[in-house]
Structures are given as structure tokens and as C-alpha cells.
């Protein structure tokens, strides 16, 4: 009897070891320890044995049962450790399922990056309407009465107003600067705010010129600000936008609404200032005109130029975005071509 049990154990162990998966193992468990198993048969036959024999066979049978349980548990663990959720073969080089996501326009992305930078410096965000008047687009900004930009060659005047003047002559705004006076009329000084937006010029378009393009202008008005603060501000903003320090230089420039005016050049990011095709071998890229607010502009906003001063900075967004991504045709920005826009995540 004991030999038979030993045989059952040995055969059982072999079968457990050979189980290929958990399903088979479960079947084997039933066969080895279930009601119809040979082990059960041995237990059932205990009654016909003499007491000594019964005791030792009973102990042995229980031992085998326990051994089976332990062996099956081990085997099961082993099978779980080796198991895969996926049956059969899988090609792991197949592409993942695409995330279906849209994107903001690359200009908007740049604009928001700048917004974040300026907001962190306590600037407000303001926006002027797209249609303005000669009064706000030119007169208030100290443009000479016969400044060429006022001509319909340069500015999109609205039909029916093109021969009027001042408040009555309306146009698609040719720049953002008119918005500065609107803001100051509304909020007064001191002020620090940015006003991004689209502006319009009657131009012949090509890869570098557009009729509708984006600017980002910032203005600070306060009692005692030195124009050198303008350069510090720009350095801070560019560092934030490009994620590293960008060298800038400030040089003489002229705009009707500033005195003095200056141009702020940014070190060419493509060549690191060594000079390349993108920067016309200058190493510098002209990105930001700016300057101290002209007293006449402050007067137009109802502020006393002896008390208040401040400075403008105007960033050409299209150019900055072209620089950021290496885009070679400014007209793509208004193309609504998704083959282009989907590249910017």
C-alpha cells in the first residue's frame, strides 16, 4: 500500500511538472486530489486495513496530498510568472495608436509663451480691435500729416472713409501701437501691459512679406524708468521664451511715436552670432523696434510728459516663429493648410 502511495506521488509529481498551463494544472489537480482520484481511493480503502497499517497508510496518504498541494502551488506560481496576457505572437515594432490631438497655431503658441513670460512680470494683457481710425493709428502717435504710411498704398482704409480724416477715416490697424493710447485713456498711468494682435499692411506678398501679420507689443509707463530697463526686460523675456540666455543689443532707431527710438537685435540663434544665411551674415537679427514714448503720444493719452515716461517694445511674432522653427515662407501662417499646422504640437 505504501509503495502504491509512493508510486502515486512520483507519477503525480511528474504530471504536475509537465503541466503546460494553468488550465491543465487545474485538471491535474482534480485528477490527483479530487473525489475520483487514486489517492482518494486509497483513503476510502483505509477501513479494510489493520489499525497499524491504517495509521501509517493514512499518514502517508495525507502527506502525499499535502505534497501535491504544495507542488501544485509552486507550479502555479511558476506558470503565472511565465504567463503572458497575450496569446500567440506579437510584433512589438508595430506603431502605437496615435494620440488624436489638435494644436494651437504656432503663432498662438509663441504668443502664449510670451504672455506667460510677461504675466510673470506683472503685465496685463490687452487687446485693441482690428479696425481703428486715422486718429488712433496715426495722429495720436505723432505721425506727420503727410507720412507715407497714411497712404492707401500702405494702409487698408475702409470704403467710404478713405478720403476723410482723423476720427472719421477708418482702417484695418497698420500696427498695434494705437492700442497703447486706448489703454492709457481707459486705465491711466502707471501701467505695464502687453497687447498682441494681427496688423494689416497693403503690401505685395512673398515668402518674407505678408498683408496680415502678428505683432506683440509691450508698454511700460511710469514716473522714473530709464530706457536701459527696456533691454533688461527683453533679455528676461527672451530667456524665458527660448529657455536660455539670448544676447541682445540695443542701437539707434527711429519711429514717430518714440524719442529716442531704438532697435533691439537678437543674436542669431541659428549660428550663435557667428553669421549665417538666416541673419545675412550679420550674426544679429532685428526683431524688436522700441523706444521711449514720444511726449506727443503721452499727451494724446491725457498724460503729462513731464511726469510720465516709459518705453515700447514691439516684437514681430511671425519672424520670431519663423526663427524658432525654421519656417521659410511667412504666407504659410495664413494658409490654413493642415499639412503645415499639424507639424506644431
Amino acid at each position: 500500500m505504501l509503495d502504491k502511495l509512493e508510486q502515486i506521488r512520483a507519477e503525480g509529481f511528474d504530471r504536475i511538472s509537465g503541466a503546460p498551463d494553468r488550465e491543465k494544472l487545474e485538471m491535474i489537480r482534480k485528477e490527483l486530489t479530487g473525489k475520483k482520484s487514486s489517492l482518494q481511493e486509497v483513503l476510502k480503502s483505509l477501513g479494510g486495513l489493520d489499525p497499524d497499517m491504517r495509521k501509517s497508510v493514512g499518514m502517508k496518504a495525507n502527506e502525499v496530498k499535502n505534497l501535491f498541494a504544495e507542488k501544485i502551488r509552486q507550479k502555479e506560481e511558476e506558470l503565472i510568472a511565465k504567463a503572458s496576457v497575450v496569446e500567440g505572437e506579437i510584433d512589438l515594432t508595430l506603431p502605437g495608436i496615435e494620440v488624436s490631438g489638435g494644436a494651437l497655431h504656432p503663432i498662438t503658441q509663441m504668443c502664449y509663451d510670451l504672455n506667460d513670460a510677461f504675466r510673470s512680470l506683472g503685465f496685463e494683457i490687452y487687446s485693441e480691435d482690428d479696425i481703428s481710425s486715422e486718429k488712433f493709428a496715426f495722429d495720436n502717435l505723432n505721425f506727420a500729416a503727410d507720412h507715407p504710411a497714411r497712404a492707401s498704398m500702405d494702409t487698408y482704409w475702409l470704403e467710404g472713409t478713405e478720403n476723410k480724416s482723423g476720427n472719421e477715416r477708418l482702417c484695418l490697424r497698420p500696427h498695434l501701437t494705437g492700442g497703447s493710447v486706448r489703454y492709457l485713456i481707459e486705465h491711466g498711468a502707471p501701467a505695464r501691459f502687453v497687447y498682441p494682435g494681427r496688423v494689416y499692411r497693403n503690401e505685395t506678398t512673398d515668402a518674407r512679406h505678408e498683408r496680415a501679420f502678428f505683432q506683440y507689443e509691450a508698454l511700460i509707463v511710469d514716473r522714473d524708468v530709464s530706457f536701459s530697463s527696456g533691454r533688461v526686460m527683453i533679455e528676461t523675456i527672451l530667456e524665458k521664451v527660448f529657455g536660455r540666455k539670448v544676447n541682445v543689443r540695443m542701437r539707434e532707431g527711429f519711429f514717430p511715436f518714440t524719442e529716442p527710438g531704438y532697435e533691439i537685435d537678437m543674436e542669431c540663434l541659428l549660428c550663435g552670432g557667428k553669421g549665417c544665411k538666416a541673419c545675412n551674415h550679420a550674426g544679429w537679427i532685428e526683431v524688436m523696434p522700441g523706444g521711449v514714448i514720444h511726449p506727443n503720444v503721452l499727451r494724446a493719452a491725457g498724460l503729462d510728459p513731464d511726469e510720465w515716461t516709459g518705453f515700447y517694445t514691439n516684437i514681430g511674432l511671425d519672424r520670431l516663429v519663423m526663427m524658432r522653427y525654421g519656417v521659410d515662407d511667412v504666407r504659410l501662417f495664413h494658409s490654413a493648410d493642415l499639412r503645415f499646422l499639424k507639424q506644431f504640437k
Binding site: A103, L104, V181, R211, V232, M250, V292
Partner: protein, 806 residues
């Protein structure tokens, strides 16, 4: 504008250790933007003077000859040449191997190599003027003529670079004209030299302003002194048309102008040298020996050199003789008085015309000239004297035989020096640092200011050449000081930080949230379209053109209307993209315009009505699905963008929408926009085929943003909810809304699963599947309670919606 450093060096001795790059850099930083540095000798490399030592016929070609040429190297070089004027012993222009010449004066430059011509070796090329960029300086008389320096009487050495011989070894700074627009004084070399003298603190040579004396007067009458404050007329006789000397032609060429003849070249030279335009009339054509500067009379005409006829008006200032107009004052002469080959005496005009009138005439007749470009910036009257003096010197040099026989200086108004006070306190405050008095005075003196300091205030008189509008307020003087010191030398001063006001702009934040919601959450791509929009798409969207604002000078005739809706732009964008994508989602946020009255900043200014719109579209195949996708986008918008909730009504069909499938979007009680399928006709008229689109458009000013995130917290259910699916059979007319309304108060949650029509469903009916969750607030539901609740729900659905279970 081109600046020749050779000419600059006539006026100022620049430090000898200065590189051209440094000059360009310093001018860019302090005065005007230098766009490029051109070394005019660059293209003359390996083009040298050679002497023809021996000349013999070519054995195989009659038109060619073999020249043995000394080019300054150890041995003579054999060169085959077809030139018509080859002469033994003469010095000629030789291109050595490596030189680049323009073959017959046409096309791209070609590299010279040693070669064989008809079997004979040829080292290089003996060149004609057109081949080596010299046609303007040594004009050839015939096509086969080569440059013969000996014949031309040009002094030169064998082996010398031709650029040096022709005076073309100059360095030219190309200056961005835009950066000069406020500086009338810089439109001539003398002005730029003055800036350089100030920058490098070196002396500037004085120019003569001496006028001819003791001559008979030439009659000049100025009727419009405000427009012509000074007019000088100099009669110069015994001159004739000839070529200018090479140095003058070279200079004029380097400055970007073309040499014409000595009489005209003198006027151009004076203009580029001192910035004073002038004009030479053939004095025999000046009728009545009298100049009248007057406005044109109605009906008068002027014929220009190119035979273009101008209809003059009473605002056009003209230079006239006693009979008729001869030229547009300060801009262009007419045909009648121009210099002709037979001209023997000229009347030289050196005059001043004020800027506004010049600009007006330029605009009116679309005539931009080098002369007009200078006057339109504002030239001071004093500069006229520099022009006269230099002109007369040049005439005497180039025409030693000429006689100056009459002169008049008619000078009703002179440019006054601008008088401006600037305080030390203002300077210190705005510059951000205190500069010593001596430095301020030195800078201003170098720029031509007169300065007196009284301990507090600098009393300044600006030089006349800056007093025609350029310098008028103390800020201008501040600018001059700052730029000459150099913006880069000022200490950087960070801005003060203000902790008092939090910048809290819910409107601006909402605008950004909307875009980010659509892009990042809903998978839309943001697009930009132009505010002017092709009429075809406006008409396709059936938008009322009556209310639209129009452009006076549109980019193209079909782009005259400014958008009053973003939907036409959506149609255009769908049309552009549907060939490349099966399904895509786009949106745009922009302003639209409509006739009306709107005054954002002042009562006097009345603008058309502006609306801030947001529009989006999904294009794809399954129209019904597209509509519900768009509907889902709007349903989710308020929650994700944190504004007051939106709902839908059907009040007014948007013009672009499908007959059946549209809804209006409402915020509170107000309709702020619409969603719908784009109508069949709108798609067809836009040229969009085989694809449908659902769109939305809403006025973002109609949304009410919450001041911060306002999601409401609800406690999690303490007892489990029971989920049950119901499949109902209802009449087609029963809407989801009716089903929802009927049982919404009986359930914890209610969710639409799907709608089904098919074989198993009787006609006129549809199957609606929904999923509900029910539960008790204070205990777990027993199965008895569940059965009872479900029976109640089914009963209500049956009663209110005539629904039966499937």
C-alpha cells in the same frame, strides 16, 4: 543709400587702425543701419594692367591676333585676342587665369582659364570695358574695342590691379534708407562724415559756403516763399556735353547712380557729396531769361523726358520760365529744358524746397527721384550755399574754359536754429545715470549744437541741418546724447516689481481656455484666415453682404468684403484640406465686422461693430456623427472653460446651416451662436465634394467666465448604485429630451447609449437604449426595491412617452 569711404575720407581723417567692419558697426549702433559692406575691388581680382610687347597674326584665324603681354610676371604671356584696337606698346586690361569676367557684357561672370584658341595657346584674356565692369567709366566706341589705358591717357603700372587704376578700390557702405528717414542731414557724405567725426572725436573738415560775388543778377521770382525759401540761379557759359573724368564717374557709380555726362554728373556728385540736390537747365531754353517759382495754373501741363505728360494743378509747385513750366520743383525737370548734346550754357539751380509740398507732388504724380527723396526729409536753406560753392568748384575743375556770367541768390526765408532747453535733472533721470557736464557739452558740440549751461539747464541751439523738424524737443537732444554714448554702455537697470495688484483677467483667460480646450481636449487644429474673404465663400454661406464693411483698396477685387462671420473662412479652409484628410477638425478665433456704431475709446471715433467670434468645423463622411461630435464639443465647453453653462434652443436657423440639422447656442437666456451641419448648397457652392461638415460659431463675449475654477464637489455615494440598461421602443416623434425629462427625477444618473432603426423595428418606431443608475441615499437597495423602482420608471415612460420595453 551707398556711402563711399573714399569720399568720406575727404571730409574726415578716420583713425588709421579702424577696420571697415568697426565703422559699419559703430554707425549701425549709433546712427544708421549699415546693411552691407561692399569692397568694390573684389570683382577685379586677377584683372591687371598688361603691356602688349609683341603683336602677330593668328595662323588659323584672320579676326584673331596673338599678343605677347607683360603682366608684371617673369615671362611674357601669350594671349589670343580679337580686339579691334590692339596696339603694340600699349597698356591694356588683362584678365589672368582665375579672374571672373562677363562674356560680351552679358550674363553671369565666367572663370578665366588657360586655353587654346584655334590651336594657339592663350594665357588669359585682353578685355573690353563691358567685360570687366568698366563700361560706365571707359565707354567703348565699338563692340570689339578693348580697354586701352595708353590711348585713354590713364596712368598705370604693368601688373597693377585695374580696380586701383580705375579708382574702384573703394569700400562702400550700404545704408538702409528706412533708418535715414528722420535725418535729412545724412543724405549726403558730408553729413555721415560729421557723424563719424563725432563718434571718433576727430575733426571734420570745413566746407566752403562762398557764393559768387560781383556778377550781374539773373532774374528769379519766388511766388511761394513758404514752399521755396531759397533759390539760387547761376549762369555758366562756354560748356559742352562731355564725359566726366574717371574719378567722378567711379564715385557716382559706387554711389549707385549712373554717369551720364559731365554737366549732369556734377549735379549728382554735389547731391551725394553734401546732400544738396541741384538741377542744370539748358539756359537757351529758358525763355525770357527769367525763373519763376510758382504754383501751376489749372490746365497747364508738363512733358517729361520720357514723354509722359503730367496734368498739373494749382497745388503743384513748378519751376517756370516767363512762358511755361519747365520742371516739377525739387523733383524732376521737364523735357524742354533738359541738357542736350548741343547744350553750350547751363542755368544751374541750387535751391531749397520744403518737405510737405514735395511729398504731395511726389504722391500726386507718383514721381520718386533722388532729389525728391532728399527734399522730402527737410533740407535746411543754409545747405544751398555749400551746394553752390562745390558746384562752381567742380565746373571750374572740369570745364576750365567755362565762364560764370550771372548769379542770383533769392533767399526770402532762412532755416532758424531750433532753440531747446534741457535740464540736467531730466537727463539724469531719463538716462538713468549722471553724466559730467563736459561730456554732454562735447557730444552736443560735435553734432553741431551750440550749448550754454547755467548750472541747471543746457540752453541748446540745434544746427540748422537738424532744425527742419528732426530736432524740436528736449527728448530729441536726450536721444542724441544717448545714442552717441552708445546704448550698450548704459548700466542695465531692472524694473521694479510691484506686489500690490494681482493681474486678474478672466476675459483674457477665457479666450485662452477656449482655444486650449478645442486644441488639446477636442483635437481641433487652430487656423488663421484673412479678414478679407473671397466673396464666393460669403455667398456660399448665404451671409448678408449688405451689412458687411468693405475695403477701399482690397488686395484683390474679389476680396473687398471684410468678414462678418468666420464660417466662410471655415468653408475655404475645408475646401483647401479635404483632399488631404478624411476627417479633420479646425477652429479659428477672430474679430468680425458689421456696419454699425461702436466707440471703444472716444465719442468722436465711431467704428463699425466688432464681434469676437469663435468658430469650428469638423469635416468627414458621416454627417450625423459629425453633428453630434460638434454638439459634444459645445456641451463640454462651459465645464472645461469655467464659464456659465450653455444650452441649446431652435430659434433662428443660421444662414449656412442645413434645413433640418441646426441648433442655437444659449448662455443664460441669450442666444450667442449656433451649431449645425453645413448646408448642401453651402458645400456645393464652396466646391467641397464627397464630404460633409458640421460647424459651430459663437460670440465669445456672450460667455460669462467664472472668476476661478468652479467645479462643484459632490460627496461620493455611501451606498452602491445599481446600473440598469433599458431598451425602449418608441414612436419616431418621441425625442431623447422627452424621455430624459420624463424620468430624470427618478434616477441618480441617466445616460443615452444608442438609437436603432432596422428590420426588427416596426415602421414609424425607433429603439432607444439607455442606461440608468438608481439607488437609496440611506441604504443598499434590495432586489425588491430595485424591481419596484424599475417598474415605476417603465410605467412613467409608457405613460409619458408611449414607450414599451423591447
Amino acid at each position: 543709400m551707398n556711402i563711399s569711404l573714399k569720399l568720406i575720407q575727404k571730409y574726415v581723417d578716420l583713425p588709421s587702425d579702424l577696420t571697415y567692419e568697426q565703422i559699419a558697426y559703430d554707425l549701425t549702433m549709433r546712427t544708421v543701419e549699415v546693411e552691407d559692406i561692399i569692397r568694390t575691388s573684389d570683382k577685379f581680382h586677377d584683372i591687371v594692367v598688361g603691356e602688349i610687347k609683341e603683336l602677330r597674326p593668328h595662323p588659323n584665324a584672320d579676326a584673331l591676333r596673338i599678343c605677347m603681354v607683360d603682366v608684371g610676371e617673369d615671362d611674357l604671356k601669350q594671349i589670343v585676342c580679337g580686339g579691334s584696337n590692339l596696339t603694340e606698346g600699349h597698356k591694356v586690361c588683362v584678365s589672368k587665369p582665375g579672374a571672373e569676367v562677363v562674356w560680351h557684357g552679358e550674363g553671369e561672370p565666367v572663370l578665366i582659364k588657360e586655353s587654346k584658341l584655334r590651336g594657339e595657346k592663350s594665357y588669359g584674356m585682353i578685355c573690353g570695358a563691358t567685360e570687366v565692369y568698366l563700361a560706365d567709366i571707359y565707354p567703348p566706341k565699338d563692340e570689339r574695342e578693348i580697354v586701352d589705358f595708353t590711348e585713354l591717357g590713364v596712368e598705370c603700372e604693368v601688373g597693377q590691379c585695374v580696380a586701383e587704376v580705375a579708382g574702384l578700390d573703394d569700400v562702400v557702405l550700404e545704408i538702409d534708407n528706412k533708418s535715414l528717414s528722420n535725418r535729412p542731414d545724412l543724405w549726403g557724405h558730408y553729413g555721415v562724415a560729421r557723424e563719424l567725426a563725432a563718434i571718433y572725436k576727430v575733426p571734420l573738415k570745413e566746407l566752403s559756403d562762398k557764393l559768387p560775388e560781383g556778377l550781374p543778377a539773373y532774374e528769379v521770382q519766388i511766388d511761394e516763399p513758404e514752399r521755396c525759401p531759397r533759390y539760387t540761379a547761376t549762369l555758366i557759359e562756354n560748356v559742352y556735353v562731355k564725359e566726366s573724368p574717371a574719378w567722378m564717374k567711379t564715385l557716382i557709380t559706387n554711389c549707385g547712380l549712373r554717369p551720364i555726362n559731365a554737366l549732369v554728373d556734377i549735379t549728382n556728385y554735389v547731391m551725394v557729396a553734401v546732400g544738396q540736390p541741384s538741377h542744370a537747365f539748358d539756359s537757351h531754353h529758358v525763355e525770357g531769361n527769367k525763373i519763376i517759382v510758382r504754383n501751376a495754373k489749372p490746365g497747364e501741363k508738363l512733358v517729361l523726358l520720357d514723354d509722359k505728360e503730367l496734368d498739373l494743378n494749382e497745388h503743384t509747385l513748378m519751376i517756370c520760365d516767363s512762358v511755361e513750366p519747365m520742371g516739377l520743383a525739387g523733383i524732376k525737370g521737364g523735357k524742354k529744358d533738359s541738357i542736350l548734346p548741343e547744350t553750350t550754357s547751363v542755368l544751374l539751380e541750387v535751391a531749397d524746397f520744403t518737405a510737405p509740398g514735395i511729398r504731395r507732388t511726389e504722391r500726386e504724380f507718383d514721381e520718386k527721384t533722388d532729389s525728391g527723396m532728399r527734399y522730402e526729409k527737410g533740407v535746411d536753406t543754409q545747405r544751398v550755399a555749400l551746394g553752390v560753392s562745390l558746384s562752381i568748384d567742380l565746373f571750374r575743375e572740369i570745364y576750365p574754359e567755362c565762364r560764370i556770367t550771372a548769379f542770383t541768390d533769392c533767399y526770402p526765408i532762412s532755416t532758424e536754429k531750433a532753440v531747446i532747453d534741457i535740464t540736467q535733472e531730466f537727463l539724469d533721470r531719463r538716462l538713468g545715470e549722471v553724466l559730467p557736464q563736459s561730456e554732454i557739452e562735447d557730444i552736443l558740440l560735435r553734432l553741431g549744437y551750440e550749448v550754454e549751461f547755467d548750472g541747471e539747464t543746457y540752453h541748446c541751439k540745434a544746427p540748422t541741418w537738424r532744425s527742419t523738424g528732426d530736432v524740436s524737443i528736449h527728448d530729441d537732444i536726450l536721444g542724441d546724447i544717448a545714442r552717441l554714448i552708445g546704448y550698450e554702455y548704459f548700466k542695465k537697470q531692472p524694473l521694479k516689481v510691484n506686489f500690490e495688484h494681482s493681474v486678474n483677467q478672466v476675459k483674457a483667460d477665457l479666450a485662452r481656455k477656449l482655444r486650449e480646450y478645442l486644441a488639446f481636449r477636442c483635437g481641433f487644429n487652430e487656423i488663421f484666415t484673412y479678414p478679407w474673404i473671397d466673396e464666393r465663400f460669403i455667398k456660399a454661406a448665404k451671409i448678408d453682404l449688405e451689412k458687411s464693411v468693405r475695403l477701399a483698396t482690397p488686395p484683390a477685387p474679389e476680396l473687398v468684403y471684410l468678414r462678418s462671420s468666420l464660417i466662410p473662412g471655415m468653408l475655404e479652409a475645408i475646401d483647401k484640406n479635404y483632399r488631404y484628410f478624411d476627417e479633420f477638425s479646425i477652429f479659428e478665433a477672430a474679430q468680425v465686422f458689421e456696419k454699425g456704431e461702436y466707440s471703444p475709446s472716444s465719442e468722436e471715433e465711431v467704428l463699425p461693430v466688432h464681434r469676437n467670434l469663435l468658430a469650428g468645423a469638423i469635416a468627414g463622411k458621416d454627417a450625423k456623427k459629425l453633428f453630434f461630435m460638434v454638439k459634444g464639443v459645445i456641451e463640454g465647453l462651459a465645464g472645461y472653460c469655467h464659464c456659465e453653462p450653455l444650452d441649446f434652443v431652435q430659434k433662428e436657423k443660421p444662414s449656412w446651416a442645413d434645413e433640418k440639422v441646426w441648433l442655437n447656442i444659449r448662455s443664460g437666456k441669450k442666444v450667442i451662436g449656433s451649431i449645425g451641419l453645413v448646408s448642401v448648397s453651402a458645400l456645393a457652392e464652396s466646391g467641397i465634394k464627397m464630404i460633409s461638415a458640421a460647424a459651430f460659431e459663437l460670440d465669445t463675449d456672450g460667455l460669462t467666465p467664472y472668476p476661478s475654477r468652479t467645479n462643484e464637489f459632490k460627496s461620493l455615494p455611501q451606498y452602491p448604485l445599481v446600473e440598469q440598461d433599458l431598451s425602449l421602443l418608441v414612436d419616431e416623434v418621441i425625442t431623447w429630451e422627452q424621455i430624459r425629462e420624463a424620468i430624470k427625477f427618478m434616477v441618480k444618473e441617466l445616460r443615452f447609449v444608442e438609437e436603432y432603426r432596422g428590420k426588427q423595428i416596426p415602421a414609424g418606431k425607433k429603439s432607444v437604449m439607455l442606461s440608468i443608475k438608481i439607488g437609496n441615499d440611506d441604504s443598499t437597495m434590495t432586489s425588491k426595491q430595485i424591481d419596484k423602482k424599475m417598474a415605476g420608471i417603465i410605467k412613467v415612460l409608457s405613460k409619458k412617452c408611449n414607450a414599451e420595453l423591447r
